[in-house]
Symmetry: C2
Subunit: 352 residues, 2 copies
Amino acid sequence: MKIALLAGDGIGPEIMAQARRVLDALELPGLELIEAEVGGTAYRNHGHPLPGETLASARDADAVLFGAVGDPECDNLERHLRPEQAILGLRSNLGLFANLRPATMFPGLENMSGLKPEIARQIDVLIVRELNGDVYFGEKAMRVLEDGRRQGYDVMSYAEDEVRRIAHVAFRAAQGRGGKLCSVDKANVLETSQLWRDVVTETHADYPDVELSHMYVDNAAMQMVRNPGQFDVIVTGNLFGDILSDQASMCVGSIGLLASASLGERQTEYGTFGMYEPIHGSAPDIAGQGKANPMAMILSLAMLLRHSLGREEDALRIEKAIAATLEAGVLGGDLGGSAGTAEIGDAVLERL
Amino acid sequence: MKIALLAGDGIGPEIMAQARRVLDALELPGLELIEAEVGGTAYRNHGHPLPGETLASARDADAVLFGAVGDPECDNLERHLRPEQAILGLRSNLGLFANLRPATMFPGLENMSGLKPEIARQIDVLIVRELNGDVYFGEKAMRVLEDGRRQGYDVMSYAEDEVRRIAHVAFRAAQGRGGKLCSVDKANVLETSQLWRDVVTETHADYPDVELSHMYVDNAAMQMVRNPGQFDVIVTGNLFGDILSDQASMCVGSIGLLASASLGERQTEYGTFGMYEPIHGSAPDIAGQGKANPMAMILSLAMLLRHSLGREEDALRIEKAIAATLEAGVLGGDLGGSAGTAEIGDAVLERL
Ligand SMILES: CC(C)[C@H](C(=O)O)[C@@H](O)C(=O)O
Ligand SMILES: CC(C)[C@H](C(=O)O)[C@@H](O)C(=O)O
């Protein structure tokens, strides 16, 4: 079993260190860990945010655990050298097309949400975001038109197979949860969305036990505030998924607690190859101060164990230890508490 | 002075009737009203959701008051015949590029929001949405690729002049409000957004008194839940504006109270030519029952008087009458009350 550890920038290395302590404590037999550089750190040391060596290590592993990238000092670099490009490069080069972003209220944390507690309490949604297509990866150009005007240009598109494979992931996820799938698009304006809607509807034939609905993205953004409890699984494209999943995570109120999985098609000996990362970013403002909450990172490790290594029991052990730590009131600064990075790591390990 | 009245579908005619009573009560000298059909109604009577005659009446007027379109019976028509196309057709044919969507908490209604009252109370944002470009109006296709796969395809783009004219509208709006402008884009992924960001930054040179910031759309969707009070004016493209303005309106909690203006470049004798409509839709489920809340429609009339007819005083009179009606507890079903359409109209007229 091989895991590639890509800690990245800002608070990445600090929170990765705690996830690693948890991983060590599990004493998985025959586990090999490979560390590699990514993001602004990699740019400084190797001239590129995603060096070939890092990509090779990731590809060679059964799973990738990813910290965070983003570095204010790199903001004015050309686009292809900026830290974020490392994430996009990993997603596309590793064929990670299915992004799973669960947003669930942790008991006792209802007050952290911007939503009313009685509304926030009901949030238990899995957002399945397509991650390899859409306007993210279409042709792009910054060009000068014949009349001399500058124009920015990006092509949005989906082909039917791209929609079908993510639809299957979402329908299967719905079968394993509440049996309800809501597909979000903007089919009243976009042909890309119309195809999306058609193919999701066609795929539904294979899953008669799942209740399928369609919703326009503007309405979905409203419903996520009005009554997020209505959602079980949401499936949507890359761009709308970016917006809605961030909105949903803030509705839960504790972005320092939310993990995500990005899965590909490749099956390893133990499960599905994937990359796992917290929803939050590199938080350069608190980097190096031992203040960052490592819980989302540790919960990302739990997702890794579940999906890529077939170790459901270890995943549950970690998730229970986190829940117990929260219940014991060991809260990071993001949750209004004062526990530091290592202190939270200690508390989780104690309860493992 | 000419106003074109386009009542549309569903609850459109009912709420338009109340706006018209308010307009009559103002007894504007020399006012001419022209009624025209639009949406599903127009499709049924004329075979098109935006008949040439309706477009001509709108073009010929100083302002357009628009109810709502949308009709479940038309959902399976070809895209270009669906009711929503009437809105898109009016926006593009009339050159209405600047959509102003104010979202402000009405005192006493803090509890209607899904957000906590202490957060909701602080919302006072004007969203300035570009309305004539972006992926809404680029080349589109539903096509079959050489290998036989179906593909949906839409081009997203902005040219510099399109960004500049909406940036000017937004900077000027910020000068007239809190002096803060936040431009929302996805410049870390999209060239269209990179151009947007560059041009907004360039335009800032003309407005040194306005504080400009930039925010990614995923972050904006989070901030709108976490701390919407931080925003004064937001300027953004057509697609992101669609999503964020609906989200913002739900954060205010009373979508039955929110009005919008869509302005063009043309100056009339009295102000700027524009179209005015409630944010909410045609609500076919309650159509014809006298239950719809006409307040957003009446507030749209107030915006019309302000921007297109230069009658700020009449606009304020209406807005005060609405506020007084709300304070008196005359609430529609959308606000948990039981007042009907005509009853609310009566109450507003009484306080005018
Ligand atoms: C960093 C950025 C390119 C990325 C995205 O837009 O996908 C991020 O927002 C995310 O959601 O993982
Ligand atoms: C009806 C639809 C085409 C329209 C849009 O997306 O612009 C609506 O959602 C709006 O915001 O006015």
